[in-house]
Subunit: 276 residues, 3 copies
């Protein structure tokens, strides 16, 4: 595959010389490059002209990256969820608008986009979600997505897995109950009795968002619990592995390599036969 990928990239790079538009990071049409501000609420990406003016190779790789989205093992919808989660978690509004558009094109529902941003308010800090709000608002407006298509603030919740939650709560209480009782309490009340039970984003997708955010923000120490949880909700080893491939580009190689030992440990422990 290595050789194929390089050849594909060279062909695509050559094609770029005649192609009039960027495939990887499209700017809204009709806006001249000089007016692009990647930090405007619209979160528009630099144009292909911007990239060519700074690094033709960057433009080349941007096109070549499209191959990534065609790798088997992770659905295009999941690629989008991973990418959007990484961008929101890292506060990278510069590339956010086109990826929100793409997510909606690839089958992520508006209600799910809404819920991903809200989920990350808790898992990557309130301000990360706040940074994404104006970008998402613009995308929703362009598509005439109305508030009644979005999950309500308060509503029915999914049933709680009482046994698993009791186990989690007991372990956290034992570890940190005496150190930070407030944290332990709101973790139970707001996250595990509420956020994770909101029905607008399937638990498996919520876990994929969480794992992606943890990798993207370098929180390897929290990966073990959340990766096990994700796989309990049905995320496969192949999907995890391919999500890491995508995250190498969107969160940087070091974030992924820092996460790999924890991922390996989870895979190995889950593969062991149960004793007895």
């Amino acid at each position: 595959m290595g050789m194929e990928l390089r050849i594909a990239m060279k062909v695509l790079s050559a094609m770029m010389l005649v192609l009039p538009l960027s495939l990887g990071a499209c700017a809204p049409p009709g806006k001249p490059a000089a007016m692009q501000d990647p930090r405007t609420p619209g979160g528009a990406s630099p144009t292909r002209e911007d990239m060519l003016a700074v690094s033709p190779a960057l433009a080349g790789y941007s096109t070549g990256r499209e191959d990534l989205w065609k790798r088997p093992g992770l659905s295009p919808r999941d690629w989008s969820i991973v990418t959007v989660a990484a961008l929101v978690a890292r506060g990278h509004t510069v590339d956010m608008s086109s990826h929100l558009e793409r997510a909606l094109d690839l089958g992520v529902k508006p209600a799910e986009v809404s819920e991903i941003i809200m989920h990350l308010a808790f898992y990557s800090g309130w301000a990360s979600a706040m940074s994404a709000v104006p970008v998402a608002r613009d995308v929703f407006e362009r598509r005439a997505i109305r508030p009644d298509q979005l999950p309500p603030a308060v509503g029915d919740l999914l049933p709680l897995d009482v046994a698993a939650e009791a186990q989690r709560a007991a372990r956290v209480e034992q570890s940190f109950g005496a150190v930070a009782p407030g944290v332990v309490q709101i973790t139970t009340d707001l996250l595990f009795h509420e956020l994770w039970l909101r029905p607008a984003l399937a638990p498996r997708d919520r876990s994929l968002v969480t794992v992606s955010a943890l990798v993207a923000t370098g929180h390897a120490a929290q990966l073990s619990y959340h990766l096990n949880r994700a796989m309990g909700f049905g995320l496969t080893r192949t999907e995890v592995s391919e999500a890491l491939t995508q995250l190498a580009f969107y969160a940087g190689w070091p974030s992924v390599f820092t996460s790999l030992p924890a991922v390996r440990e989870v895979f190995e422990k889950r593969a062991e036969p149960h004793p007895g």
Copy 2:
């Protein structure tokens, strides 16, 4: 408390439908939502309308979060110091303006706000402070805060705790003197013989800012020294514990959970009776 908090949030969410303004993240009045740019120098937050257009739940939690500020154990002034420190350290200008205003309302002096930003230039990178400068300048201008109310560049310093500083310097010299003598030298000269002795921010508050920044930026390895220092300056276990509760929202749950083992270790060691 869990049930109470959820009920409070539901009531508040219902109230939000009729309340004309956001309680949690106020945008400057008189500016239509469409002109809000969270990344302008003013650092204005998304409006309640922005949040509702993307996630009604986000708007709901934003209001519910107000309960946090009423928890006992940490003074409202300290909540503000923790929050401002987290936002500046993470470069999150999006939520910064309203929190600087609130800090000033809750008793943090302009000179202290000034000094918090300067302190974080050293503890979270020069550019983090630079990102906060235009936001703080706008807030100061709106309140007619003049430069003569701010700490001078050079002035009298607090007395140095010679014994404690000798111990710190010796340990750092022994650990890293041969590896990075320049770092060791400027750490002594600029930080511990100067920055920490500037009188405009009490050592206890400076420590609270430092600890909050370390949690918010995931530097768990540096927590042990600074948490002990903070508690030596009078920060209580309860205050640390409640600061972590606040940081869960402003820095994200993973940042807090990554910090908790180091916090627990410090608490446990300080609780041990002295030998002999």
Copy 3:
């Protein structure tokens, strides 16, 4: 040096009162302070007036920091490479424009600036590079730097060190081949068979960029491999040590102290006599 530095800073602080321009962070001339937006594509820094309005000390240290650039042990060109790498890796556009200008003034070629940004697309996440693109484009335009002065997307590569690369690939395959085969594959194909062999940035400089980015983004776990690689390419202990001094300011003290144990370990292992 400590005393000298403090005296120098006091003299410089006094000079600042009469100097009409900032030495540390120049804003483009002709733009009134009130119109400065540190997050515009130009990436202009806050002016000296902005800093004085928030923290006279911040302005004072900004001037005093100039002394850093005169420390022996690291060339001014290398200071610039370290600083630009830290800013791009952390997405800090606020201070980026003046540092890109300074890098070009101090002998970093346009082709090298281009390649540093492209390199960091891989080592600190695609969006970090995208954030730098509009800033660099403006700088390049002001200096009439044309695309034909920039490295092409595809071209001749440096020869591969086959033995060293085989060793690296085998170790990564053994560690993570079963966990994330896609990551392992693209690491070989895109990074070590391509990115690192692009001739527009010398391997030693590419390593300096990588190490600076790892320190700046807190990826201490990846430092050991890349620091050894950097020193294999000729980076000296003194240069590493001085780079860390610079990074204390641009990435914050905690990032440097979190990195120091890994740096010490590399230094110690490399100093050991070879067995036998």
